[in-house]
């Protein structure tokens, strides 16, 4: 009862795993999810998401057959939803790597329950993002020319001065490393599943996947090392990828694009949207799969705090952009930003600011920060806002640039919309598969973390005794 008193003491950190489950219970909690018979609800869910993904496939086929004209893109708005969606998805991808790599290096224990989940999300988001650079080209079957493929036929290399080529490298590296990182982390848990497997099929499948993991001390040592190294490699990627993506714009001369603030601004935005997406999914998943005791309010709250921070950074970026536009004295720059806020796209701009800057401010209040429904709504709002941020940057800068005679306006077509909608289908389908066949929580890591927590408790007990006497 004493330790109870201590537990309720606000000065003591809340626990990352609640209700003292035994190690076995943890394993059970996570593994059982994928060992029980597939529930009908899952079939229904994946049926829906898969058909949405099918819509995506149709749209892309339609696009490849007819040409970019099936979208609303035009002169001057040659990039529109295509690149917007690309940046949007890439951005979402960021939370994963941040959680797994950076928080790992900072020894943030609370990451353990959510990193697996977040990394998976990263991969799937990057997969969705990858669609657009390929299919936004007029002749996708020639897009491989963007890669430095040695060709004795043409004697042609890519133009390494072009930010799009940098993109190719940045994104593909990012995808590869995150995939590796994620998989390495999975290996011990896969082995656990393998060992618990009842049927031969599962034994073989997970056997292959777990790469002969036997949990020997040597394995663990190599594992820890590999994990650390990969964490080290991917840490700079968190910053580099979206910086490079932002170069697509920053390296051009378009007012509203040609801005030095872009790299940090984009990275912040990316983490912002990434965490929003994690919260959205996590809130649902922990409830559905009854793992509230592993993914606790503490985790969610921390993520909300990060959203509050990055959201504010983004807000600052908006403000400083405006200030510089005025301060620089460049008439085109000035016009572009006034046009953003008060021009034909004022609605998009307003939406962006209210979603990204205002809405996260509610997280200053612990009550709201820890309210599941509220954070769920906010996380959705933020994702909407972040999509609009990209659209505002791309659309409003392009539609009125230097030559008023060439000004235009952008109207999305149904194909535009369905394509974007379809990417969510793909994203969720992959996610459902992940939830069904892989341990959504890094069991081994959680256990490791619990060990330390136990010692911590013992210490608290001692203190409590001392107080009584």
């Amino acid at each position: 009862m004493a330790d109870l008193a201590v537990r309720n003491d606000p000065h003591v950190r809340p626990r990352l795993v609640e209700g003292d489950p035994s190690l076995h219970q943890v394993t059970e909690a996570v593994s059982s999810i994928i060992e029980t018979r597939t529930p009908y609800s899952w079939w229904i869910a994946i049926a829906i998401t898969a058909s949405i993904a099918g819509v995506l496939k149709l749209c892309l086929g339609w696009l490849v057959y007819n040409g970019i004209g099936v979208w609303g893109n035009n002169q001057p708005i040659a990039w529109a939803w295509d690149i917007t969606n690309f940046v949007f998805w890439i951005g979402i991808g960021h939370a994963g790597t941040l959680i797994s790599a950076i928080l790992f290096l900072f020894r943030q224990k609370w990451r353990t329950s959510i990193n697996r989940f977040a990394e998976a999300m990263t991969l799937f988001a990057v997969a969705c993002a990858g669609i657009f650079p390929l299919f936004h080209t007029g002749r996708p079957w020639r897009a491989y020319w963007l890669f430095p493929v040695p060709n004795t036929d043409l004697y042609m290399w890519p133009n390494f001065r072009s930010p799009l080529v940098w993109d190719v490298f940045a994104v593909s590296t990012y995808a590869t490393v995150s995939a590796l990182f994620w998989y390495v982390g999975l290996v011990p848990d896969l082995a656990t599943i393998r060992d618990r497997a009842k049927t031969k099929g599962r034994k073989i499948a997970y056997g292959v996947l777990s790469l002969g993991w036997r949990g020997s001390a040597r394995h663990w040592r190599n594992y820890e090392m590999a994990y650390l190294v990969l964490a080290g490699i991917s840490t700079p990627l968190v910053l580099s990828v979206h910086s490079v993506v932002s170069f697509d714009f920053a390296a051009s001369l378009l007012p509203g694009w040609h801005t030095t603030i872009f790299p940090p601004y984009f990275v912040a935005g990316a983490i912002f949207s990434g965490f929003a997406m994690v919260v959205t999914l996590m809130v649902v998943a922990r409830w559905v799969f009854k793992v509230e005791h592993l993914v606790t309010m503490k985790h969610l709250e921390n993520m909300n705090k990060i959203m509050l921070a990055t959201g504010t950074v983004v807000g600052y970026a908006y403000a400083s952009e405006f200030f510089i536009a005025w301060y620089s004295g460049n008439p085109y720059e000035k016009f572009t930003f006034l046009n953003r806020a008060f021009g034909p796209y004022w609605w998009a701009y307003t939406l962006m600011v209210s979603c990204n800057v205002i809405s996260p401010q509610f997280f200053w209040f612990k009550k709201l920060r820890t309210s599941i429904p509220f954070m769920f709504v906010i996380s959705l709002v933020v994702n909407v806002g972040m999509w609009f941020e990209r659209f505002v940057i791309i659309g409003t800068s392009l539609h009125r640039d230097f030559m008023p005679s060439a000004w235009g306006y952008y109207h999305p077509t149904i194909i535009d919309m369905l394509t974007f909608f379809g990417t969510f289908g793909l994203f969720l389908t992959l996610f459902l598969l992940f939830l069904r066949f892989l341990p959504m929580i890094a069991v081994s890591e959680v256990k490791g973390m619990m060990a330390t927590q136990k010692m911590h408790d013992a210490h608290l007990e001692a203190v409590a005794q001392a107080v009584e006497h």
Partner: protein, 215 residues
């Protein structure tokens, strides 16, 4: 509970992995090789409607290329001769030959002979014969020893790399204009050196920028 995959399997996995890697590389290499124009395009030698032998006419009889392809010095196209050109001789030479049936018909009816094009550049490439011939690039550089071919065959890849090689270093392929149609001609001195002299004399600097060939 017994493991399905005993420890000993690791080595097989390693070997298997290595094999897969090797095969993948091999596949890529094969694709690059077989898709290369050098392999894909050279050797194209369709059967022509009339069994015309360059070996006989240009080689044995020594008729100058220019006699039939008479626009090469003036125009972009190296004109395929009119049926009339064949008949100039063949009204007297072998007027009855069965193999000339089609030619005679064409001459009588006015129906052109459907020759099959062998050396063909994509439509977005604008090659000009006169520019090259007058600079001293011989027919042989791109068409090979036509005068030794029974049936004409493409012997050079004629891809962009092939063009660029020469455009970047034309010297080896240059000769005095009077010899451009002498396919077998060999200079009596170092061809490189002679080439450089011609370049100097004619201020030859072949374009290597896009619009040199693509318009």
């Amino acid at each position: 509970m017994a493991l399905i995959f005993p420890k000993t399997i690791d080595q097989y996995v390693r070997i298997g992995g290595a094999l897969v890697a090797v095969m993948a590389l091999g596949g890529i290499g094969a694709y690059v090789y077989f898709s290369h124009p050098l392999v894909a395009d050279t050797g194209y030698s369709p059967v022509q409607p009339v069994p015309y032998s360059h070996k006989l006419h240009a080689g044995t009889l020594g008729i100058d290329c220019y006699y039939c392809h008479n626009t090469v010095f003036k125009a972009a196209h190296a004109a395929i001769p009119a049926t009339e050109t064949c008949m100039n001789c063949h009204v007297r030479v072998k007027p009855q030959s069965a193999r000339l049936e089609k030619v005679r018909n064409s001459y009588a009816t006015g129906e052109p002979i459907p020759w099959i094009q062998i050396h063909k550049l994509p439509d977005y490439v604008y090659f000009n014969h006169s520019a090259h011939i007058n600079a001293g690039v011989s027919c042989v550089s791109c068409h090979g020893r036509i005068d030794q071919m029974m049936e004409v065959k493409q012997v050079k890849p004629l891809n962009m790399g092939f063009c660029l090689d020469c455009h970047r270093n034309p010297a080896p392929n240059l000769r005095p204009v009077e010899f451009v149609t002498k396919l077998g001609w060999q200079p009596d001195r170092d061809p490189e050196e002679m080439g450089r002299e011609i370049i100097a004399a004619k201020h030859i600097n072949p374009p290597t920028n896009c619009s040199g060939c693509h318009r």
